[in-house]
Amino acid sequence: MLIAPIDRSLTNHCLTLLLLLVAAWIALGLIGLLRPHSVRFVAHVVFPLGSITCLAFGALAALFLVSGHLAEVMTLPLGLPNLPFHIRLDPLSGFFLLLLGLVAAGISTFAAGYFRSGQGTAPGLLCLQYHVFLASMALVVLADDAYFFMVAWETMALSSYFLVTAQHRIPEIRRAGFLYLLMAHMGALCILLSFGVLQGGRWQFTFDTMRGAPLSPFWASAAFLLALIGFGAKAGLVPLHVWLPEAHPAAPSPVSALMSGLMLKTAIYGILRVAFDLLHVRFWWWGVLTLGVGLFSSLFGAIFAAVQTDMKRLLAYSSIENIGIIFTGIGLAILFAACGLPLFAALALTAALVHSLNHSLFKSLLFLATGSVLHATNQRSLGKLGGLIRRMPWVATLALLGTLAIAGLPPLNGFVSEWLLLQSFLFTPQIPHPFLSMLIPLGAALVALTAALAAYVMVKFYGIIFLGQHREPSLVHAHDADWMERIGLAWLALGCVVIGVMPQFALRAAGTVTADLLGRTVNLTSPFWWIAPVTPKQASYSGLVFLAGIAGVLVLAFGMVRILAHGRIRRTAPWDCGYPWQTSRMQDTAEGFGQPVRHMFGTFFRMQRELPTPTDAEPHYRVQVEDRLWRTLYLPIARGVQRLADWIGLLQGGRLAVYLLYSFLTLIALLVFVL
């Protein structure tokens, strides 16, 4: 309230200032080109400046959300003649801009310490691609017409493609980049078609005309399905997820963090924009479909994450899982909204939004931590890491916070959003539809299963990398992250803790969005530190009280031990089951840790195993786990395309005369047709 008069002028020009910051990103990228090969200049000057810009960006977006303005509109003097770029800042875009600014600030700070020379693309060029990527994500969220949206969307896809293929000399990375580009373009095509349906025959492509376009149920459903496929391909929904586990490990870690943390969220933004803003009707089966796809993706992602042995692939599958959880929330919100229960819809949407924010924070944090580990050890395979908590205490501590958050443990942020989602599942029996009201509550069980599996995955991730003994002798030389990297990691970890302990901030930000889209907000608190989504009687949670409880128990236990056991402590080695010595090879491996899941969910995988016979002098154990969808869905499509291309390739005989004959015959045929 105090800051209100001072900031009135600022809040009125939020959009202009945000655009200036976007322009500043592009300018920073271009500045990086001044000395393209100087790592020092790019890392120590440009990236820190960029991270300050990100911070300002997030602050402005937060200011907009606080100010209570509904929307700011602007037409840019850019674009084609008679087709200018429209932009609009409303609570939905404000929320995603806030997320972008906050998380990108941490990633840019980390990147300042991360990028080294001699790794593929020159640092200056990488800096340009990085900042163009940031700017295009901001513009995707700000765009207010289909034309500008697609321009920004494609810029985002292309700049991230170049970032993924930064080390383009490695063939696998080029392949991963191609797969990513292919899926991105297929998705963009679906989005384009969806906009084509949404304009409803008026041939005006501003979002404003789409809002008012009267669509028949059939065409509205077509638009929604196309948008779900298009944005789902970008977000990594199963079965459109195949690019994700390839592209994330291929990219440099800050880029993986940007892609997983932020780019996937632009897809969430897109589906929300289409489903809740541009379309004026919603049908219950859209919600059920989205819910089903989301639940399946989350379970699928968690199961596959459990059997991975590459740390970045593991995180990529975990991203699929989290995107699945977010889509589950969106599906519930659509279902509730279609059934005329806006309050519960607001609750589910809040869960989805807050989980988007949370996932951005902890997934970026973990990807960056893997980057530090990768730099310190040159190893990405879990089987060659271990015991790094002693060599890299900073990274290990901060990654522990991220791990706990992603595992959904209170009082960290992952718990808040998953709890909200489960709360909204509890209201599904009120849906006025006999079968749905019985079946959908079962989804809550799947969410709980996924959450448990996610915790299992994170124990594996953290335990194998940081705990135990070194699996390779070279790990003794591992060094901790430098101070810029530490600041970046600490900023993201701080976000995880703050949102976990004080979820009110995130809920209030999400509340402005739900108020704008659905006309309702979740009931936050009676006292300041409690959140009670619907009524305090049903359920309530307070991160602060939880934290105080944990701290209290800890202090109590510590005090008791000090008082009761003081002076009587005897230090000795633990009982080692009778083994005379223990080596690092006796530790549980990544494969071993994943074995129970591999066994229980065997139907999901396509496994190839080589087991040693008892008489082998040099026993080898090899297991390869593949995605079944790859063989059942993608390879047949690829073969079909190849066959078609071969067939068309027959036309290309190589003789110029024949080519000329083609055009001649076409000409004659057309003339005969005219005749």
């Binding site: 390739g649 290309q652 190589g654 110029l656 005369a657 001649f664 000409l667």
Partner: protein, 221 residues
């Protein structure tokens, strides 16, 4: 009255000679003869354009005619001659399809062109409307020549002859295209021609010959 009839008759004569030249080009094997024929074709085109301009009283068409004279009768044949001498491509080349067959196909094409031109001629109001069929036939014959020849340079001559046909079609159907388009086409022609000239040297450098069948090896396997 008498004079306009005379003009119409002489235009028909010119159109007929244009068609004749096209057939002659189809039957020639030596590249240098082809270039000479091309120059002749340009000259006939120039005369017919002048006649049309005079009878319709269009000053713009005079400019087109001048452009034709400059470009198609003088500059391009001269450059082509030089190019042929430089490349050493004066000698005969065996066409892909033997000449009598080509002529027969050409004949069929001319009939087709006349059939095609019938409805257009009825709509056109120009005094040259009877010659639209011939213009179309010239285009088809030039195209046919491009298809049936092996050497890169004959393809270019075919391309240029096709443009002649187009130009003639435009003057006979609507008294020529707007000046801007005309200039644009002339410029395109020159640029395209220069690019092709550069390609000739590149092709010869690569394959030691201008025979286009060597280009088949460029095909992706």
């Amino acid at each position: 009255m008498h004079r306009s009839q005379l003009i119409a008759e002489s235009l028909n004569l010119l159109a007929a000679s244009l068609l004749l030249i096209s057939f002659a080009m189809l039957s020639r094997r030596r590249t240098q003869r082809l270039i000479t024929l091309f120059a002749w074709q340009g000259a006939v085109l120039f005369l017919s354009t002048i006649l049309v301009a005079y009878s319709a009283g269009l000053t713009e068409l005079y400019a087109s005619a001048a452009l034709t004279l400059l470009l198609k009768v003088i500059v391009l044949p001269w450059i082509l001659h030089r190019l042929v001498r430089k490349l050493g491509a004066q000698w005969d080349s065996e066409p892909l399809v033997n000449i009598p067959t080509t002529m027969l196909v050409g004949l069929a094409l001319v009939i087709f062109a006349f059939g095609l031109a019938q409805p257009i001629s009825q709509m056109a109001t120009t005094i040259t409307r009877n010659t639209i069929g011939i213009a179309l036939a010239v285009i088809f014959l030039a195209f046919l020549m491009m298809i049936t020849r092996r050497k890169a340079i004959t393809q270019v001559i075919g391309f240029l002859a096709m443009e002649n046909g187009l130009f003639f079609a435009a003057t006979s159907a609507t008294y020529g295209m707007p000046m801007v388009i005309e200039l644009g086409i002339a410029l395109d022609l020159l640029v395209g021609f220069f690019i092709l000239g550069i390609f000739f040297f590149q092709i010869r450098e690569q394959f030691d010959s201008l025979d286009l069948s060597h280009l088949e090896s460029l095909r992706e396997e």
